[in-house]
């Protein structure tokens, strides 16, 4: 009646169940070996049946069948327990005896001297046809009554369904069967929603039961407005009911561990799914239960790893919370929130308190998603082995490990291969990277805000991995970006930063971001010095000397002071620029011939006035110009003009 629907049929992959323990775990029988299977099948052969037929053919009334039946009675008593093939052997031996006796009899009968074969009139059985007819009629009548009653019931329910426009149980079952694994166990239909077939190795089972919904409820639901109710009822075990999710949050470490756990336990769990348990559509219900199972597996795995890993600061597992230190002072909290939906108060077994909103604590959706992804990757790896599979040899080691033998990998490489990162380590790394990225962003933004001259522009790469990202920083002055710009690249890792500067030097910084701040400041002052030299070149000034690491002056807290000396095109004026990261930029000017040259007794000759006089500092802040380079350009321009 329905359109053609694809139904996949699979043989049950499980072996026969030997025993079901109280916690629902099934103990399977080991499959039979080839020889055991053969013995079992041989046991099943019904030798006596053929023997009887054999006897009928003989018609000689050999008394062997009587003695045989005695043998058979004896055999199972004590002999069959001795050896599995014993009964088979005995039966074959008896058959051989009979066949030899028959051959003897036949050969004697052929001589026709001692024995003659005469046809014997078969014994007439008393047949009373009417009795048989009555008997058969009665039996057929009983069978027909059963069938008719069944048809009547089916027809009644079908018509009732049609008249009341109720959903069809079997169509629903068909739909369920398309998406979920079902099997029939005696009178009930059970399904499995666990991820075992997808590669999960979690021990908890996800068995659910499918039943027919009571008609009154369907009728009730039909009357109420809303979607068409289903004729199916899905019963999920109580530990998988409700809603669950993994909450991930990062927070500042608190002095007291107890307060940390208390406040962090206040993770708000969303209530039940919309709609009450019974009215919920089976698809949503099963999906929710599957999600609960997945979250439980994820949390169980993380908790096991947290206990096993020996970190410098040990991870803590308290109740349904895992605490791990990401960076000094920052904690990662991973919790399992499971709201059973049966009771909104604290009585549910998972112990999650749906507390009043103490804080919509910043649950990290990205990290939660990463956790899900990581576990799914583990599942995928469990079922997808790299090709080619060896015909002999173990299945499961990575491709690198498969090649290790033929490539003659040494012990260090093998040791390296055996290391496997656990989920917890990976998620901690991702959290560390997240913090490093956020802190570097903050540092760069604050520097860009503090320092107006020159401008600091940072470009974050949009494409990055969960544990690595990259930012390019450009330092330039407004209006002079064509003259000079300094760029550097910062790779943000998990616990370290790698800065590649313009001169090709690579600096590795720790997670203390003061280091990044200092580095950027040094780069800014270095940029100012190179930029002023570039401007000088444009203006036709001559660079007399420059040093990026001056040995004179007070010791700088970060970096060294740098300086340069520029001479005007006709050589009569000199500019000295000194740049100290802690003080700023100072500009001095000297001119020759010096105005205040007077011959003295020591220096009598007039020519010495060309040596240039003492340097005088310029008050930069009083000068015109938008920024330092602009001021320097104006200064050079006015000093270049002949005085």
């Amino acid at each position: 009646m329905a359109n053609s629907v694809n139904i996949s049929i699979e043989a049950p992959i499980e072996n026969q169940i030997q025993e079901i323990t109280y916690d629902g775990q099934e103990i399977y029988q080991a499959p039979l070996s080839m020889s055991e299977n053969l013995a079992r099948l041989a046991q099943k052969i019904d030798f006596s049946k053929t023997e009887d037929e054999f006897c009928n053919i003989k018609k000689e009334g050999e008394s062997s069948s009587d003695s045989k039946s005695e043998d058979e009675n004896k055999e199972p008593g004590y002999q069959s327990s001795l050896w599995p093939w014993d009964s088979v052997r005995n039966k074959l031996r008896n058959a051989l005896t009979e066949v030899s006796v028959l051959a003897d009899v036949l050969s004697i009968a052929k001589e026709k001297r001692y024995m003659v074969l005469d046809p014997v009139q078969p014994e007439q059985t008393e047949s009373r046809p009417m009795v048989q007819v009555y008997g058969r009629k009665k039996a057929l009548g009983a069978a027909a009554a059963v069938l008719l009653a069944g048809v009547e019931r089916l027809r009644a329910s079908e018509t009732m369904r049609m008249t009341r426009n109720m959903p069809d149980f079997h169509i629903d079952l068909l739909r369920l069967r398309q998406n979920w694994r079902l099997k029939k166990v005696s009178n009930t239909i059970v399904g499995d929603l666990s991820y075992r077939t997808a590669g999960s190795k979690f021990s908890q089972t996800g068995v659910f039961e499918v039943t027919k919904a009571p008609e009154e409820q369907i009728a009730q639901a039909m009357n109420a407005a809303g979607p068409v109710p289903s004729a199916l009822r899905v019963t999920v075990p109580p530990e998988l009911q409700g809603v669950a999710f993994i909450s991930v949050l990062c927070q500042k470490e608190q002095e007291d561990v107890v307060t940390a756990t208390l406040s962090s336990a206040a993770i708000n769990c969303p209530g039940t799914l919309p709609g009450d348990g019974a009215e919920l559509h089976w698809q949503q219900k099963l999906e929710a239960a599957q999600n609960v199972l997945f979250c439980k597996e994820l949390f169980a795995r993380l908790a096991a790893e947290a206990v096993q890993l020996d970190a410098s600061i040990p991870h803590m597992v308290v109740g349904n919370q895992i605490m791990a230190t990401v960076l000094p002072g920052i904690q990662l909290l991973i919790g399992l929130c499971h709201n059973n939906g049966q009771n909104t108060n604290n009585t549910n077994p998972e112990g999650v308190k749906p507390e009043s909103a103490t804080g919509k604590s910043d649950h990290d959706h990205v990290l939660e998603h990463s956790l899900h992804q990581l576990l799914r990757a583990v599942h995928h790896a469990n079922t997808h082995h790299p090709f080619p599979h060896p015909a002999t040899g173990p299945l499961g080691p990575s491709k690198r490990r498969c090649l290790a033998g033929p490539m003659a990998a040494d012990r260090y490489e093998l040791l390296d291969m055996s290391k496997e990162q656990s989920l917890l380590e990976q998620i901690i790394q991702q959290a560390q990277h997240f913090f490093m990225r956020r802190r570097s962003e903050y540092v760069l933004d604050t520097i860009a805000k503090e320092v107006k001259d020159p401008l600091i522009v940072s470009h974050w790469n949009a494409l990055n991995s969960p544990t690595q990202s990259c930012v390019k920083i450009n330092i330039m002055a407004y209006g002079y970006d064509a003259v000079c710009r300094t760029s550097l690249v910062v790779h943000v890792g998990e616990k370290t930063l790698k800065c590649i500067c313009r001169d090709g030097k690579v600096r590795h910084l720790s997670y203390e971001l003061q280091e990044l701040r200092d580095l950027i400041y040094c780069q800014i002052y270095q940029h100012q010095m190179t930029a002023v030299q570039a401007v000088g070149r444009c203006m036709g000034w001559q660079l007399l000397a420059s040093s990026s690491h001056l040995g004179s002056g007070p010791v700088e807290p970060l970096g060294n002071a740098s300086s340069c000396l520029l001479a005007s095109p006709n050589g009569d004026r000199m500019l000295a620029i000194r740049c100290e990261p802690s003080v700023g930029i100072q500009v001095y000017i000297a001119q020759s011939p010096r105005k205040d040259f007077f011959t003295s007794e020591l220096v009598q000759d007039k020519k010495w006035e060309h040596l240039g006089g003492a340097f005088k500092e310029i008050k930069l802040e009083k000068m015109e110009g938008k920024n330092f380079l602009n001021k320097m350009e104006l200064l050079m321009a006015c000093l270049s003009s002949p005085s």
């Binding site: 002999t392 290790a404 033998g405 033929p406 990998a409 040494d410 012990r411 093998l414």
Partner: protein, 208 residues
């Protein structure tokens, strides 16, 4: 993986192998090396069945430095063919026992302490065949380099330094023609094959 040189150390008259090993250990420790476990290189030879034509020998080697690998060298008389495989190769040889029979009495191995000294890795092996002591092999590896030519001078100096002037340090026969090629683990095995073959030929201890 670096370059390895295998050197035979003659055992002086009326001295035991353990005495020599202890002596060399003392010298190496005095240089500042630290002991890093033990090592073992063993070799088992299989002879092909006479029905298969000319007799060929298959040498199966295991080296504790490459624990996942089995090295095999097929000696056809005219040339050597090597195959590096993983541990299942041993099982394969058992299946081939109809065609290749193991000469149990020639099973030979070199084992002893393993030292690390900076970039050098030194192994002092006492060679035994059928539980009888045959001699001493000293293996020195220089790990940062892969071409023998570039490092042979350094290795010779190092070997001469702690073995003493009484020992002639010469480039291994196997390496002479391959001085400019990249060194691979099978080259170490070839050197062991050379020395093990020499040990098998003579009865008693090998002096030079």
């Amino acid at each position: 993986m670096g370059v390895t040189v295998l050197q035979q150390y003659p055992v002086p008259e009326n001295k035991t192998g353990t005495y020599v090993i202890e002596l060399l250990t003392k010298r190496i420790l005095a240089l500042g090396a630290s002991q890093q476990g033990q090592f073992l290189v063993d070799c088992e030879s299989y002879l092909s069945h006479p029905q298969m034509g000319t007799t060929k020998t298959v040498h199966i080697f295991h080296n504790s430095e490459q624990p996942a690998s089995v090295f095999s060298i097929l000696d056809t008389g005219s040339k050597n063919i090597h195959v590096i495989a993983d541990g299942l190769f041993d099982l394969l040889m058992m299946k081939l026992s109809q065609h290749y029979t193991s000469k149990k009495q020639t099973k030979i191995e070199s084992k002893g302490p393993r030292f690390e000294l900076g970039d050098f890795c030194i192994k002092l092996g006492s060679v035994t065949m059928n539980q009888s002591f045959k001699g001493i092999l000293v293996e020195v590896e220089y790990r940062p380099c892969v071409t023998p030519n570039a490092v042979w001078g350094l290795l010779r100096e190092f070997l001469q330094g702690f073995l003493g002037p009484s020992v002639m340090v010469q480039a291994p026969q196997h390496l002479v023609s391959r001085m400019n090629e990249i060194y691979t683990p099978i080259d170490t095995i070839y050197q062991y094959l050379e020395h093990f073959s020499a040990y098998r030929k003579i009865t008693g201890m090998r002096s030079a």
